[in-house]
Symmetry: C2
Subunit: 94 residues, 2 copies
């Protein structure tokens, strides 16, 4: 399994703009064969912070994901609202 957390500090007040396209992006990603989890979270005490927690069967499944048109479209959408982004892998349990 290939699992990671992406922590996005959004430009003030833009978090919900990003999330406005989340359902569509999540449906498309979750429909991909190697997608185990593709979940988004909002910080309880920082309205400008989001985390994406993604689990993929393996690196190849994630590479496939990154080549999809829906992925590049969603990244192009949310990237414009970033102030900072940190990518960290997770030691997947089990």
């Amino acid at each position: 399994m290939y699992k990671f957390i992406v922590t996005i500090d959004c430009q003030p007040g833009t978090r919900d703009k990003i999330l406005s396209r989340a359902p569509e992006a999540q449906a498309a990603a979750r429909a991909e064969p190697g997608c185990i989890a593709y979940d988004f979270y909002t910080c309880t005490d920082n309205p400008d912070r989001l985390v994406f927690v993604e689990s993929w069967a393996d690196r190849a499944a994630h590479d496939f994901h990154m080549q999809q048109e829906h992925t590049t479209r969603f990244i192009a959408w949310h990237e414009q609202f970033h102030e900072n982004l940190v990518f960290e892998t997770i030691h997947a349990a089990g």
Copy 2:
């Protein structure tokens, strides 16, 4: 740094009961010398899922945290509402 993500699937409808004591728990944890981050997140499309993302200077800082009365009190509080809990370490960036 010692960083991890705790994914909690709450019993239906109990997420906000857990979060009702979050501010107090977060203030106490963040006041500890080795605490780098102690952030809680709610899932955007699953009202019964929470993640805690914690960053500690090192294992000893986290061990100290776990021995504090405010920590054991908060864990005892939220544990009663769990359906499932997964603990996974994060490869902290930088």
